[in-house]
């Protein structure tokens, strides 16, 4: 397990170093390019605000009212059979529907349970390991006018389910075995 943790720590500096040296070798104006790309990051962070506000408010209304407790109480026996914490199930469902919605739920789970808790790590992995099937389907097929999508949705949703289960397995295995 030590290897996994040092891999995570070393991976990013090594990748950054490699990109910087490769860019320099290819005569890219590194600093100016960095600034140019950074501006995109700034606008993404700003653009995301309304999505996050909308979703976090809805989640906290749902939770503060006690509705979430009822849902989890009802679901708990089913998921505890498979050692799935009921708290992440709404995230798993949301992940396929809305990327920003899922992001809101993930940050809510991290805020509530702490980033380094089992649920915090699990939410992080679920958020990072799949993409929003409905969004990808809408954007990609919509852009080129595909109306009959045949078995595409089934494949996408099953892949999401696999990603969800694989996240649980990966976190349990790497951190809590």
């Amino acid at each position: 397990m030590n290897f996994v943790q040092s891999f995570s720590i070393w991976f990013i500096p090594l990748l950054i170093g490699f990109i910087l040296l490769y860019g320099t070798y290819k005569k890219v104006p590194t600093y100016e390019t960095f600034v140019e790309g950074g501006k995109e990051g700034f606008s993404i962070a700003i653009n995301i605000i309304p999505f996050l506000v909308g979703m976090l408010v809805a989640i906290s209304v749902f939770r503060a009212s006690g509705a979430l407790d009822y849902v989890m109480l009802a679901m708990r026996p089913i998921f505890s059979l498979f050692h799935i914490p009921a708290e992440v199930v709404p995230l798993g469902l949301m992940r396929t529907i809305s990327g920003t919605g899922a992001l809101g739920m993930t940050s809510d789970l991290i805020a509530t349970h702490g980033p380094d808790s089992f649920i915090g790590r699990l939410a992080s992995t679920i958020q990072g390991s799949t993409d929003t099937t409905f969004y990808v389907l809408t954007v990609y097929f919509g852009a080129v006018g595909i109306k009959k999508m045949k078995y595409a949705l089934k494949v996408g949703l099953l892949a999401d389910l696999i990603g969800f289960l694989a996240s649980i397995a990966a976190i349990s295995l790497l951190f809590y075995s």
Binding site: S98, S107, P115, T125, G128, T130, Y140, F141, Y151, V155
Partner: protein, 197 residues
């Protein structure tokens, strides 16, 4: 779909609060969570600016093309019905490479370009072709090397080790992608057996 879920969470929340008699808590939750969302977005600016800056260097330096070259054999296997050296291949490869680097914004336009080419290959029909669905499957399970946004959120909540989810994410995303490809193949052969193309 998101619209119904969003309204549903709010309205059910209000109804349950009325039933439980804790509307005051709900009132407070609305305003603290709205504020928290804005704070969170601002906390994320630092890492998003940094990482997208670095990634721009990778893109300009031509690392996308290097990755595309490395993955050529895989693309041949995944998309057997695309003719050799067809432009669709290049777009698919760039799409996969951009996804790998976590460049979601760069991946989408390349994916759309690839879809356009695949539609031409499919005779311009408004029906999804085998390759289109494969490309979609790969995108929805998106292999990601660096989950930037998540790392940013973890940092803003004072994680002791914000990047320690990189390895499990890689593992989970790899499993999901392999799974997506296998499921895609399964449904493709099943649709052949049913007699439809």
């Amino acid at each position: 779909m998101v619209n119904y879920i969003w309204v549903g969470m709010m309205v059910i929340g209000f109804a349950v609060a009325a039933f439980n008699g804790n509307m005051d808590k709900v009132n407070a939750a609305i305003f603290t969570s709205a504020k928290e969302a804005v704070t969170l977005s601002f906390a994320m600016i630092s890492i998003l600016v940094f990482w997208l800056g670095i990634m721009k260097i990778a893109e300009k330096g031509g690392l996308l093309e290097v990755l595309a070259y490395l993955f050529r054999p895989i693309v041949k296997w995944l998309f057997p019905d695309i003719p050799k050296d067809h432009p669709a291949q290049g777009y698919i490869l760039s799409n996969m490479a951009a996804n790998l680097l976590g460049l979601g914004n760069a991946a989408t336009p390349m994916g759309i370009k690839a879809m356009e080419q695949l539609k031409i290959l499919n005779g311009g029909k408004n029906e999804a072709s085998r390759s289109m669905i494969t490309l979609l499957a790969i995108n929805t399970s998106s292999i990601t090397l660096i989950p930037t946004t998540i790392i940013a959120i973890r940092m803003s909540y004072n994680s002791q080790s914000p990047t320690d989810i990189v390895a499990p994410t890689l593992l989970a995303t790899a499993v999901a992608t392999v799974g997506a490809i296998l499921i895609d193949r399964y449904y493709y052969y099943r649709s052949l057996q049913k007699g439809g193309k």
